[in-house]
Amino acid sequence: MTSLQDAKAPANEVVLEAIGLTKHFPVRRRLRDLFSSSEKKAVHAVDDVHLTLRRGKVVALVGESGSGKSTVARLLAQLYPRTDGDIQLHGESTRVKGGSAFRGYAARVQMIFQDPFASLNPVHTIRYHLTRALQIHGHAGRTEADLEAALTDLLGRVSLTPPERYLDKFPHELSGGQRQRVAIARALGARPEALLADEPVSMLDVSIRLGVLNLLRDLKERLNLAILYITHDIASARYFADETMVMYAGRMVEGGDSETVTQTPAHPYTRLLIASAPDPDRLTGDLDPTEEDRGNGEPPSLIDPPSGCRFHPRCPAAMPRCSTDLPVPLTIGDAPGHWAACWLYDVPEGAGK
């Protein structure tokens, strides 16, 4: 491939774009459902998601557990067939199911999984994992020496040096951080343009998270990668991502420049999320009463999601309209590119708080 040339491609070039991406998982039924109603049900895991990944930029996707973040990543990696919507790679619509087309796609879009303990096959050495990553996409070179050089290069990129200390180890012989680096190296073996990192550090120990995040940032800059950074830790999105999108119950609720989203959140859900994050500077454990969650902190059922705005049952500022009309993304004035899908910002109703 032409990764070196690509690396010099202009930043901000759109690599991957999701347009109205939707995924409904049919609910698989068992014998025990024999006696219940027979309507066909589905988990509305992701609905109408728009997302743009650009070269040299990190987009963070934040949201609570089960909000559909991983599903978005897997859809983008084409690991799941999508229910609706489109995925465009360099502006071209793509839909691959398997075979060489999928390989070609995988060569450009790679994914990193949340759990480095689970994403490496315990029976294979690091060498095997990386060699396969290179071989599949034809980067292994012709000779042993080529391969060895490529492996050394890969490990070097993820700061696992000297390589011989790691190559012949099994995953369980490495620490979590090292494993996640190997997983990143494996993704890099395909020389992709876009990396989809699904909570790459949430399973790691606090003291080593930073190292991995810094590595990703470094790679972004050096290889001019487009990165989707999925996390439930909004604070890390502030530090690491250029742009942050907030997801709730399968829908995007807010997006914009990371600093703006975290410092002046617009959507009530984002505000709740930020208010809930631990804050050492706060003296008591009390919440700001205005940000009180009306629900029990429970996300809604995705099989039968609430009508209108999915957050309305919990929203402290819910209006009658919220339970009937699906909010559209509305631009917020304070910074360019900042939007929220909330009727509070609908013009006739008045511009927010």
Binding site: R29, R30, L31, R32, L34, F35, S38
Partner: protein
């Protein structure tokens, strides 16, 4: 609705496929019932009677396999399993009907006892590791590796004999008639002791082992630690918390074992001349008695399918997680 149909279709298809195989497989065997009868009696039956037997069995008319198959299904839909050749002219349903209760009682009760006993010992072995119950394992494993029939024959040799309490064969005393009275029941129990013991000894180890392993696995679950932390009495932790949960995976095994009752212990019934279904099946096999073989296979097939269904239902009842909310 669609789902119920799908599930039903699954069971029906499995049953159909198995019954069809059951129909065709026995017919692959060379020979016919008449010849089998002649050879069985080694000279006691003159070759002159061959023709009369063909006429008797209705085998004198040539019929294609296919039309036999169609007839078979027609019969089945009328609940008719045909006439047995070995026990001509007894209907297969009668032959099965007289054998099935014995098998169900002997093997069924033994399987249940084996499961209960094995599981209880497994609970003890798994909970109090390193105690006497652990020492039981190698012994029972050894016995479970012994073929049933060998153990049975040894048991007869060692325990049955002139004036022994244990009769060597049969389901009850030859002078008795099956009835729920004080003569018959003790006799039936007495006759079932040795075969039951044989089955018990060779099957109990599996239950002990799987229950022990499940207990060990469950013992390290957090809720067990919590139960200890709650200061509950040890018995309650062991029974209501550990054993109750460890039992779940064994239930499906148990249901399947129930399904294998009929086909599983053929040889025990033979060794002890026990008037059960396994033994009947073997006679049918020897005599090329297609209707009987099919009938017994049908019973086995249905019992395995029903056992599967039971396993599903047992899970439904025992594991609240599989129950629907509301």
């Amino acid at each position: 609705m669609k789902y119920i149909l799908q599930r039903l279709a699954f069971y029906l298809f499995t049953a159909w496929a198995a019954i069809t195989l059951n129909f065709f497989i026995p017919r692959l065997v060379p020979g016919d019932p008449v010849q089998s009868l002649i050879t069985k009696y080694q000279g006691q039956l003159s070759t002159k009677s061959i023709q009369s037997l063909y006429v008797l069995f209705g085998l004198d008319k040539d019929k294609s396999l296919w039309s036999q198959y169609i007839d078979y299904w027609k019969q089945l839909f009328h609940g008719d399993l045909g006439l047995s050749f070995t026990f001509f002219p007894a209907p297969v349903s009668q032959v099965i009907g007289q054998a099935l209760p014995w098998t169900l009682l002997l093997v069924g009760i033994t399987t249940v006892i084996s499961f209960v006993l094995g599981t209880s010992l497994g609970v003890v072995a798994g909970w109090r590791r390193g105690s006497w119950a652990d020492g039981l394992l190698p012994v029972t494993t050894f016995f479970s590796s012994v073929p049933y029939f060998w153990l049975g024959i040894i048991a007869i040799y060692l325990l049955a004999g002139p004036d022994s309490f244990f009769p060597s064969s049969g389901g009850f005393d030859s002078g008795l008639v099956p009835a729920w009275d004080q003569y018959f029941i003790p006799s039936a129990i007495q006759h079932s002791l040795l075969p039951a013991l044989t089955i018990l000894i060779s099957s109990v180890s599996g239950w002990i082992l799987s229950m022990r392993n499940m207990m060990v696995t469950v013992s390290s679950e957090d809720y067990i630690t919590v139960a200890h932390a709650k200061g509950l009495p040890e018995r309650r932790v062991a029974v209501a918390y550990a054993a109750r949960n460890a039992l779940l995976p064994n239930i499906s095994g148990f249901a399947l074992a129930l399904g294998f009752i009929v086909g599983g212990t053929l040889l025990v019934e033979i060794v002890f001349s026990y008037p059960g279904l396994g033994y009947t099946l073997l006679q049918g096999l020897g005599a090329k008695d297609y209707p009987l073989m099919q009938g017994v296979f049908l019973v086995i097939t249905i019992s395995v399918l029903v056992a599967n269904l039971l396993a599903d239902i047992a899970y439904l009842l025992l594991d609240p997680r599989t129950r629907k909310e509301g």
